[in-house]
């Protein structure tokens, strides 16, 4: 499953140089490999499932200093670290981990941040088990990888809470104005990178809070909003201007912004267009897109209704269609809002579920039901137009499809009805169409995704770059951030030409 990263010669050179540093050698020989492999993976402290499934506070509590350093000892500091190849942005994982082991947290965070601008977020939401941790040598040897994600989170949280957030020296202003469209992880990363180069950056965001999916989609129990807030404040300290409530394409077009002196653009508008099932009855009351459901709860704080004005249906029998992170977040939210039955209905089997393993595990602990190989065919409403049931079909797995996953095929005559009062459709999102619609020159692919040159992230429009979900469709935070860094480097070059 893991796609290995190709490292540039410079990065390889740097990895080697770090590896050969005196202190690293000493640290490696301090504990024999055999001893290191005896240490078991340190457990992430979690709140008890019965307690946490009734509130929205964070589930994972984070490692403490002692356990983090012990966990770091498990890393063998390989000469040829596979984990770095597993990370989509090629973080020098051994360096940041070994700095934790020796207790130099400042050096650790600096090294981490040189490749990843949002470690407190990635440490929490990256699918580590299919990336860095999938290829970890300790995993090959013992079956259990080093907890790279947990360590990443530890060190990032340490900086935000105990340490001092280091504000880099900003070079003299280049006087160049850059417009970043969308304040999701892609846009925020570009903004940070370019501000550090001395450009004058404005981020335009349609919603009234910055963060993209990280604020309206991913719930507090998985990613507390304060983390994002800290990231945005950091950007503002770097001189980035954040303009909320500004829909590029409507409030102003790219052309208007050009006239205002913006010379270079980054489109990070994400995949905000929800896909629906397209089955009869889908517009009945009580059926939400995951975007609407999560936006009501996370962004508009409907969990605290009527203190906040925005309501949300509190289903007693809630079903969520889908098998990804969005589905897990929705179903766990429904449980927290008081559902007696909160169930995932997924048309493939457990092994094909794209959600992070940890989320599935947490969901199960919290009492979420999973019904695999189940596909809805129609919703049934009552006389008030409210959903009261969904009719489903059982599926079986056939030959693999283009995604390599086995294609689900309906079993004839297997229809059955489930009584429900809330349904959430979490079967994916498509790229946001607004910018392409208002810029006919912008080349888009057949899914509505903005097309880019993958080496530079340049679009078909001069001076306009793009990255994240708008070019990939619903993908991941780390990929969005990776795209953003490539784009930022190119944009910097473009601006200096």
């Amino acid at each position: 499953m893991t796609e290995k990263n190709k490292l540039s010669p410079e990065v390889k050179e740097k990895l080697k140089a770090e590896y050969n540093k005196e202190w690293r050698k000493e640290l490696r020989s301090a504990i024999p490999v055999k001893e290191r492999m005896k240490i078991s993976r340190q457990k992430m402290p979690e709140r008890n499932p019965e307690e946490r499934n009734t509130d929205f506070y964070e589930v994972n509590q984070g490692l403490d200093e002692k356990t983090a350093r012990l966990e770091a000892q498990r890393c063998l500091d390989c000469a040829n670290p596979q984990c770095v190849l597993g990370c989509p942005v090629g973080i020098d994982i051994p360096s940041f981990v070994k700095n934790i082991e020796r207790g130099d947290f400042g050096a650790s965070i600096r090294s981490l941040k040189s490749a990843n601008s949002l470690p407190a977020i990635c440490g929490r939401v990256c699918p580590q088990e299919t990336q860095c941790e999938a290829v970890c040598t300790v995993k090959k040897a013992t079956g259990v990888s080093v907890a790279i994600g947990n360590l990443e989170r530890f060190i990032a949280d340490y900086e935000q809470t105990k340490g001092k957030v280091h504000i880099p020296k900003i070079p003299p202003s280049t006087g160049k104005k850059v417009a970043v469209i969308g304040a999701g992880p892609a846009g925020l990363t570009v903004a940070g990178e370019l501000a550090k180069k001395g450009h004058q950056v404005t981020v335009f965001e349609a919603l009234h809070v910055a963060g993209g999916v990280l604020v309206y989609g991913i719930p507090e129990f998985r990613l507390p909003k304060r983390i994002l807030k800290a990231e945005v404040e950091y950007l503002q300290k770097l001189g980035v201007e954040v303009r909320l409530n500004f829909v590029v394409g409507l409030t102003a077009t790219l052309e208007d912004l050009k006239k205002d002196g913006y010379e270079c653009f980054f489109i990070g508008t994400g995949a905000g267009l929800p896909n629906f099932l397209r089955i009869p009855g889908e517009n009945l009351i009580g059926i939400y897109s995951a975007n609407e459901y999560l936006t009501r709860v996370n962004l508009m704080r409907a969990f605290d209704f009527p203190e906040y004005d925005t309501p949300v249906f509190l289903g007693k029998r809630a079903v969520v269609f889908g098998g990804g992170n969005v589905a897990m977040d929705s179903v766990r939210t429904a449980k927290r809002l008081g559902a007696d039955m909160a169930a995932i209905l997924y048309r493939r089997s457990r092994t094909e579920m794209p959600a992070r393993v940890e989320e599935v595990h947490h969901a199960e602990e919290e009492g979420i039901e999973f019904h695999f190989l189940t596909n809805p065919i129609r919703f049934i409403g009552d006389d008030q137009g409210k959903v009261k049931a969904v009719e489903c079909l059982k599926m079986e797995l056939g030959e693999p499809d283009s995604s390599g996953r086995r294609r689900p095929i309906p079993i004839e005559g297997s229809e059955f009805i489930v009584d429900i009062d809330l349904a959430v459709v979490a079967i994916g999102n498509s790229p946001n169409p607004l910018i392409p619609q208002t810029n006919p020159d912008l080349k888009v692919g057949k899914w509505g995704n903005v097309e880019v040159d993958w080496n530079t992230m340049a679009t078909s429009m001069k001076g306009v770059y793009a990255g994240g979900d708008i070019i990939r469709g619903g993908a991941t935070v780390i990929l969005a951030m990776g795209d953003a860094r490539v784009a930022a480097a190119e944009m910097d070059r473009y601006l200096r030409k």
Binding site: N283, S289, E307
Partner: protein, 277 residues
């Protein structure tokens, strides 16, 4: 933060709000809407623009007090600030020279139809304006609308104006009088839109309705505002708000609009208890 330049009661329960927003003022066109939040805890409320002043950099909307958030909005004074004001959203109304255009508006839609009537007039159409009020004292902006109309009718249930009947009957009357009408545009409550569309259906007059389903983000991200048009699901916020009234699946819209009826009452009681103990 956006500054409120003016907030005043036009008639009982209907208020005008003028907001400072140079960008939106420059961009907005008839039929588009804005979204605002009265305070940090409020809902995102969509309001159709009723006017704008590009030089002064302000945008005006007219709203009816219904739920908690509109109540809060109606208590804000000129000079205060609101945390969210974004727009212009949605597609603008199609303005062309159609011939004779009948503009029908009711409650907040009397304000919202104004820029459309004005633009239709400027585009060289003969404009017939037809307004619907429950009682004569609920009419506002009569002068403004008369000024852009070739013919002007008001139906009010108290028989004070031209006639006592609800708008569709007046509409039918106007149509019966032998006028050739090329297009009807209508803004107001869903019932008004529905009755206008039904009145013109047998005659095959193109009738555009500005739908106002429940919305959350207003930028096409959530699908709260989905409506069935013909056999397709559309998002009113990005595909509309204007649709062909003869293709709208009204029953679904009526029921979806009532989705949060009980929550709205609960919210209002809670807030009233807090603010007016």
């Amino acid at each position: 933060m956006a500054k409120i330049i003016r907030r005043e009661k036009l008639v009982p329960n209907i208020h005008l709000i003028e907001i400072e927003s140079p960008e939106v003022a420059v961009k907005c066109r008839p039929g588009q809407f804005v979204i605002l939040m009265p305070d940090e805890k409020g809902e995102r409320i969509p309001l159709t623009v009723a006017d704008w002043d590009r030089e002064k950099g302000t945008v005006t909307a007219v709203f009816m007090v219904v739920g908690t958030s509109t109540h809060k909005l109606s208590l804000l004074e000129s000079g205060s600030e609101i945390p969210v004001f974004v727009g212009p959203l949605g597609k603008a109304s199609t303005i062309e020279k159609f011939g004779t255009v009948l503009c029908a508006g009711g409650c907040f839609g009397i304000g919202a139809i104004y820029p459309i009537a004005r633009a239709m007039k400027e585009a060289g159409n003969k404009v017939i304006t037809l307004l619907d009020v429950k009682a004569n004292y609920l009419l506002y902006w009569e002068d403004r609308l008369r000024a852009v109309s070739d013919e002007f009718f008001v139906s009010s249930r108290d028989n004070y104006y031209d006639c006592k009947d609800y708008i569709p009957k007046v509409l039918k009357q106007v149509l019966k009088d032998g006028r050739k009408i090329d297009r009807v545009v209508s803004i107001g409550c869903t019932y008004l839109l529905y009755t206008c569309a039904e009145a013109t259906r047998p005659l095959g007059i193109k009738t555009i309705v500005s739908l106002n389903p429940v919305m959350v983000d207003g930028t096409g991200m959530c699908g709260a505002c989905r409506v069935t048009i013909g056999d397709k699901t559309k998002f009113a916020c990005v595909d509309g708000p204007d649709f062909d009234g003869h293709l709208v699946k009204w029953e679904e819209l009526f029921s979806r609009r009532k989705s949060y009826f009980h929550d709205e009452i609960r919210s209002l009681c809670y807030w009233e208890n807090k603010v007016f103990p």
